[in-house]
């Protein structure tokens, strides 16, 4: 069984570990760290925080496996109705960097039906190889056939890294594949890098509610799997004429069996403005004063080609549907430009938008926490400032 211990001779009593522990499990006794095993979850945060290697996490895992057969960086490329989703290009952009560092090939995995042309495009986006499984059962996403095919591919070709979008499809699929292939999986990575010596994927993600970053590895398992949210990575540039080797895979019919049956795919107009994909979000909160004032936000969003977001209190007051909610119980967004209008900036909201590149905050209360994360802050009434902004942007954009 795994255990954790403090090497007292190395402990300097610096208390870094106490601060690092998210579970309040460490206290100082006679200037030495003491771990309360009733609270400790063996998360390893203190081990990572200690500058003196005084805390050791002992893992009684089996013998180190031979992982040398695993190579290449794979990207699962999501398609809907035959169209490759932009998240896939973002992953190819990041995957290219990782593959170059590791000195291996970047391979795209594409599942669907009638995707010959789409597969060729992936070469222009930097893929060296494309593993293509083309079958009517793969036309639209279904858990069972997608899982079986991807597991088969992984077991046959043994990639060392497999990246996937943190989308509805990606999260459902990759979780299943990771269990079946006994791989380590890290969700929602915001940074990826490699440790060349151990050939480890260094996966950095927000932890414990988003205010601490953790770097996670899977030292003894392959492939190393990670999901990445939309807009976090740079899209791969198009290199016209660049071609990838297409490896078409055929499997016996039972590989495509599905216990679930997809009866219908409904697209809803209200959801067409997907806030997690928008580059510009104009969000409103309680300070907008009422439902009617949300039209001011829509006007600005329309002018800028962006989407309207909202804080939880605005959604709870029925000023705007839940699909627009940004924050902990809503969506996490990473736009280039985020306007927070009449949003005070509760921690639950900040978690969902603080990684935006530029944040503009407009609020009547100069002490509102939103100003602490804002790139630009304006103290004032959003219902007056937003229309003025719309006017000025229209003028600047010649609209």
């Amino acid at each position: 069984m795994a255990s954790i211990k403090v090497h007292l001779e190395k402990c300097t009593g610096c208390t870094l570990c106490v601060k690092a522990c998210a579970f309040g499990a460490i206290h100082m006794s006679e200037r030495k760290a003491v771990i309360d095993m009733a609270k400790c979850t063996l998360c390893g945060a203190c081990v990572a925080a200690c500058k003196f290697s005084a805390i050791e996490l002992e893992k009684s895992g089996g013998p180190k496996k031979d992982l040398s057969a695993y190579k290449d960086v794979w990207v699962f490329c999501e398609q809907k109705k035959g169209v490759i989703q932009s998240i896939s290009y973002e992953l190819l952009g990041e995957g290219r960097k990782l593959a170059d560092k590791l000195g291996v090939k970047l391979c795209a995995v594409l599942l669907g039906h009638g995707l010959e042309d789409a597969a060729h495009k992936l070469g222009e986006r930097g893929a060296d190889k494309v593993y293509l499984a083309d079958h009517p059962a793969l036309k639209a996403y279904q858990d069972d056939p997608y899982t079986t095919v991807l597991v088969n591919l992984v077991e046959e070709y043994k990639p060392e890294v497999l990246l996937c979008g943190a989308t509805t499809i990606g999260r459902s699929l990759i979780s299943r594949v990771a269990i079946k292939t006994e791989a380590g999986l890290t969700a929602d990575c915001t940074g990826l890098d490699v440790d060349l010596k151990e050939r480890l994927l260094l996966q950095t993600r927000p932890a414990f509610g988003g205010n601490i970053m953790a770097t996670i590895i899977a030292p003894n398992h392959r492939p190393q799997m990670a999901t990445v949210r939309h807009k976090v990575m740079q899209e791969a540039a198009v290199q016209p004429g660049r071609a990838a080797e297409i490896i078409s895979k055929a499997y016996p019919e039972e590989t495509f069996a599905s216990r679930t049956k997809l009866l219908d795919v409904i697209e809803e107009l209200t959801n067409t403005v997907n806030i997690s994909e928008a580059d510009i979000i104009v969000a409103g909160g309680r300070g907008m004063g009422g439902k009617e004032n949300f039209s001011l936000l829509e006007e600005l969003a329309k002018t800028l080609g962006g989407a309207v977001g909202a804080s939880r209190s605005a959604v709870d007051a029925d000023w705007i549907p839940y699909s627009h909610q940004v924050g902990q119980t809503g969506k996490t967004v990473v736009p280039k430009l985020y306007f927070a209008c009449g949003i005070s900036g509760q921690i639950q909201h900040l978690i969902g938008m603080q990684s935006s590149k530029i944040i503009v905050a407009i609020n009547r209360d100069p002490d509102a926490p939103i100003f602490k994360v804002a790139t630009y802050g304006i103290v004032g009434d959003a219902t007056e400032i937003v229309p003025a902004l719309t006017r000025e942007f229209k003028r600047a954009l010649n609209k």
Binding site: S313, D316, A317, D365, P366, D367
Partner: protein, 384 residues
Amino acid sequence: MDYLLTEQQAMIRDLARKIAQEKIKPVAAQYDESEEFAWPIMKILGESDLFGIYLPEAYGGLGGGIFDMCLVTEELSRACGGIALGFAGSALGALPIALHGSDEQKKKYLPDIAAGRRLAAFCLTEAEAGSDAASIKTTARKEGDKYILNGVKQWITNAGEAEIYTVIALTDKTKGIRGASAFIVEKGTKGMEFGKKEKKMGIRASATREVIFTDCEVPAANLISREGMGFIVALKTLDTSRPGVAAQAVGIAQGALDCALDYSRTRVQFGQPISSFQAVQHMLADMGTQIEAARALTYSVAKLVDSGAKSVSKESAMAKLFASDVAMKVAVDAVQIMGGYGYMRDYPVEKYMRDAKITQIYEGTNQIQRNVIAANMIKETLKK
């Protein structure tokens, strides 16, 4: 202050607080504005078993007492005194049945009230019988196995929304108050109608209407207790429920103080939060102290009522008088601390001030309460 509640009482208070803060507070201003009856909230209170806390377990209740009822009323009122009245008004209508009803009557009506499936209302006041409740004119004439009710009840809380009404009417006009009797009348009974909804200064989420009886036929089985017991039933009901009004007042006062305290910590003038100014601090200190005194008196009287004490008229009048005066004063001071913002309808504190006023008026004006208190005090000295 810690009132050393039992585990169950703390559970009741915490649940009421959760509902009040999560479900009522966000919609309080909206219902105040629209004057609609908050049925969605009543449904939540019903599903959470709160309507049954003070009713016996044998009739679907939780077997608690008026003290438990007060804990709930206070927490709900802290978020909205008007919505809280939907709950408290139903208790007022149910108490005559719970206190004086026959086993059949209790079996028939209390489980529905306890589950919140049906609300209750209490009908005593008339146009010419306010403080002078003995002047009621509504009559109930016996004909065979029925009583025929005629008359108009005024300012009835929950009227139109409730389905079970306890009505005080004269069965014998010649005997004055000794000729009054109490009846259960169900909504939908022929000859029973409702007047238009009153427009009020405060507690606007509460429904207030006339209840009009025109040759309304009520089965004789719906007579509560005996003929002539109507006033005893009414007075006992009001003595028992009055700590509930006190609790409503305490809740409103606490809600107003919560706003003022919050505001004073964040409002900056002359470069510092206004809570750092002694003028504001002293106001806050007085408000907090007065509320705690009102709460302590209310809780003590509620416990006295639950102990089965024979006469609680004086004490329950004291609790209602003191707590409602505190609510009014605290709400006015809360508006004052918030200054111009306090006067604006964008902020909730002016609503607390409007809501507080009714607690000094209904279920016996504070002037009548003082009469009752003094009369009881003098009576007690005569006994010595």
